[in-house]
């Protein structure tokens, strides 16, 4: 794999490499040699793909939770691999991914590669189907260690073995706001948690009819997940990353006093009818407001702040400009102090269920910067990766750029979404439901955490 990387440096210049390009592109019959024609993607440089070998006639099936319209960008990003190696990628996306993958594994019908969005799910699959999941080959391990931080590599590791490498990433510690509204009112972006609360009170004072925050946690059968992100974000801020890790791994009980304190802090915003739910109603309306609608009052001025991940940008109306000088944008949800910068995020992990050479080659490709850059190139907005080989200039939306900057900035402490790491009975069930009850039924902080603790599998 070392050779691969070295060669990457002087790609276009190398005559031998160029010759290879001609041969391979001619084979795939997609483009003429001299044609500089339509766009950069048409003349693919295949030198970086040499180590994958000739995979003509081979097919790799990929099963994911990513569906149209985002799936098209995925498929497009495989083009150079297909062109240079001759392999064919059979892509299948389904919103029923999490229910269907175990069925397929159990029935002996696994895909070659699956993108698993939760480390907790990956862990349970490795435990339940140890013979089906294939550990990452050496080339993939090398890529993972070189292009990803240790934290990210660890999320794909189960019991010391690397199974999966990160694919896409998202950043959840964001507060969406309207730059124009902030400018009109002379509000500053807060840099500490106290500033944020002060800003909240200031907005309330200036606009007595408006609740500063808007929130929504309705998401079909996953209702409640945005509230779990709230709690995780605040635990990182009030208790710190170490306590967060212990909490996620159940080294301290779920209802530990420090978590209780964090939930109280969340409640000081989400359960205060002076502060929520701008544009929607009272506190209980949070439970019934769809998460992907919740921030819609912001451009109308009926709400000023909405905590949501970078991928919320897909929900804005096309007429709104998502930029620092635009109609809507997001700022980093501040930590306790200016130097305390925890960052909550998530991502998908490439897991293989076959060890054929073409599958391993594709897995290596997906963990390489070549893929990350190609993906950024073909994606309009709403995608980024934690791959440090990704060229930020290729990211096309300001919020994606900002997310990538935060992800690769060492002063930020990254932590993966906790509910995605917890066992399914908690992370995808009790946690969601109890947080919903906490809001919809005004269940007490203690009872909420006690109930989740009771649901933790022994």
């Amino acid at each position: 794999m070392n050779g691969l990387r070295k060669r990457r440096g002087y790609t276009a210049a190398a005559a031998a490499g160029a010759g290879l390009v001609l041969v391979l592109t001619a084979c795939s019959g997609s483009d003429d040699d001299g044609g500089s024609g339509d766009g950069a993607s048409s003349t693919t440089d295949c030198t970086a793909y040499e180590d994958y070998g000739d995979l003509s006639g081979k097919t790799i099936s990929v099963y994911t939770s990513i569906v149209d319209p985002e799936s098209q960008q995925q498929i497009d990003s495989y083009a150079p691999f297909e062109e240079c190696t001759g392999a064919k990628i059979e892509y299948e996306g389904s919103r029923e991914f999490e229910a269907q993958l175990p069925v397929r594994l159990q029935a002996g019908n696994p895909p070659d590669i699956a993108y698993i969005p939760q480390p907790g799910f990956l862990k349970s699959i490795v435990e339940q189907y140890p013979d089906v999941v294939v550990p990452a080959p050496q080339a993939v391990i090398d890529n993972a260690n070189e292009y990803y931080t240790e934290g990210w590599v660890n999320y794909g590791t189960v019991d010391g073995t690397l199974y999966a490498t990160p694919l896409g990433a998202n950043v959840k510690s964001f507060v969406w706001y309207s730059p124009t509204a902030f400018e009109e009112n002379g509000y500053e972006i807060p840099t500490t948690w106290d500033d944020l609360i002060a800003l909240t009170d200031q907005i309330r004072e200036d606009h007595p009819d408006v609740q500063p925050w808007c929130a929504g946690i309705e998401s079909g059968d996953a209702t409640g997940w945005p509230a779990t992100d709230w709690l995780e974000d605040v635990v990182l801020r009030t208790a710190g990353a170490d306590v967060y890790d212990q909490w996620v791994n159940h080294e301290i009980p779920f209802n530990d006093p420090q978590i209780l304190e964090a939930l109280g802090t969340v409640g000081s915003i989400l359960k205060d009818s002076e502060r929520v739910n701008g544009g929607w109603g009272d506190v209980t309306s949070i439970a019934t407001t769809p998460w992907n609608e919740a921030a819609q009052p912001i451009p109308d001025g009926a709400c000023f702040l909405h905590r949501a991940a970078n991928f919320y940008q897909a929900n804005w109306d096309e007429s709104l400009k998502v930029a620092e000088d635009g109609d809507v944008y997001a700022f980093y949800l501040p930590g306790k102090t200016e130097d305390d910068k925890p960052l909550l995020g998530g991502g998908e992990f490439v897991t293989a269920f076959a060890d054929r050479p073409e599958v391993q080659a594709f897995q290596a490709y997906l963990s390489s910067p070549e893929w990350a850059n190609k993906k950024a190139e073909v994606t309009g907005q709403g995608w980024l990766s934690a791959n440090n080989g990704l060229d930020p200039a290729l990211l096309q939306s300001p919020i994606d750029k900002l997310s990538f900057d935060l992800l690769t900035d060492d002063s930020y402490t990254f932590r993966f979404d906790g509910s995605d790491q917890m066992p399914g009975a908690v992370g995808a069930d009790a946690f969601w439901k109890q947080m919903t009850a906490w809001i919809a039924e005004n269940q007490s902080d203690e009872e909420t955490l006690d109930n989740i603790e009771a649901a933790w599998p022994q």
């Binding site: 098209q72 299948e92 389904s94 029935a107 019908n109 992907n292 819609q296 897909a314 007429s319």
Partner: protein, 315 residues
Amino acid sequence: MTVIPPTNLVDETEADTRAARPARKMSRAEKRAMAVKGKLSSPWASGIAIVIAVLWTVPTFGLFVTSFRPRAEIRSSGWWTLPWNPELTLENYQEALFGSSTSLATYFLNSLVITLPAVLIPISLALLAAYAFAWIDFRGRNLLFVGVFALQVVPIQVTLVPLLSQYVSWGLAGSFWVVWLSHSIFALPLAIYLLHNFMKDIPPSLVEAARVDGAGHVKIFFQVLLPLLTPAIASFAIFQFLWVWNDLLVALVFAGGTPDVAPLTVRVAELAGTRGSQWHLLSAGAFIAMIVPLIVFLALQRYFVRGLLGGAVKG
């Protein structure tokens, strides 16, 4: 419910005179028919029927209106606000039909390719089986029939994983074959039971007469029974067609979601996008998927009602 609709809605004296006059000339049965008709067509009953019909149609109507509203309107207000912002667009349909990488026509075709054999196979098999159960006397017939009947109790969910592993070991998974096969398996118990009941209803003298005239089983089946069974076959065909066309579970589990085999339902289920940001397309998608079953149902509706009643109420 606190209000109990009065059973006798017509003024008593008036009803008496009304019933009394024709009663002189009518037979008892006719009188009873009149009384039933009077009860069923009372203004209250009609009123309730209309209210129920409206209540049932409102959501469909709302969905229909929604499917023509622009994205921003769908997201910010309900369909009933249409009179105040009468902005309509075909964009949702445009996007749902042609917005994805694979045209919706592909999925339409897949749905047809899945549905037609999945309707024809069980009907053909069930007709033969029903004939045997109804008109051929063999040992253990009743026991076997009870066995087939009992199979209807098995929920299809418990069969998914075992069936899929079987298909995988046969090397069939992910093709149309497994969908046809599975739908046939799931449909057969009910199909055999329904068609058997129809066949039993045909007077034995008819079959005996044919037999006396020298007809064998094949001739009796094709020339005596089949023409009489048309409404029954049609009604079951509609039933099975609607079930297969609207099925998501079986197709998703056995065939998977690749564009070369996935039916329309799989596509509609994914229309909302990875994180649900495209959900405003769902109403348009629902109506597109609804067109074919609607046509089939309206075209064959009279068979449907007749066939179902024929099986249920004898006489």
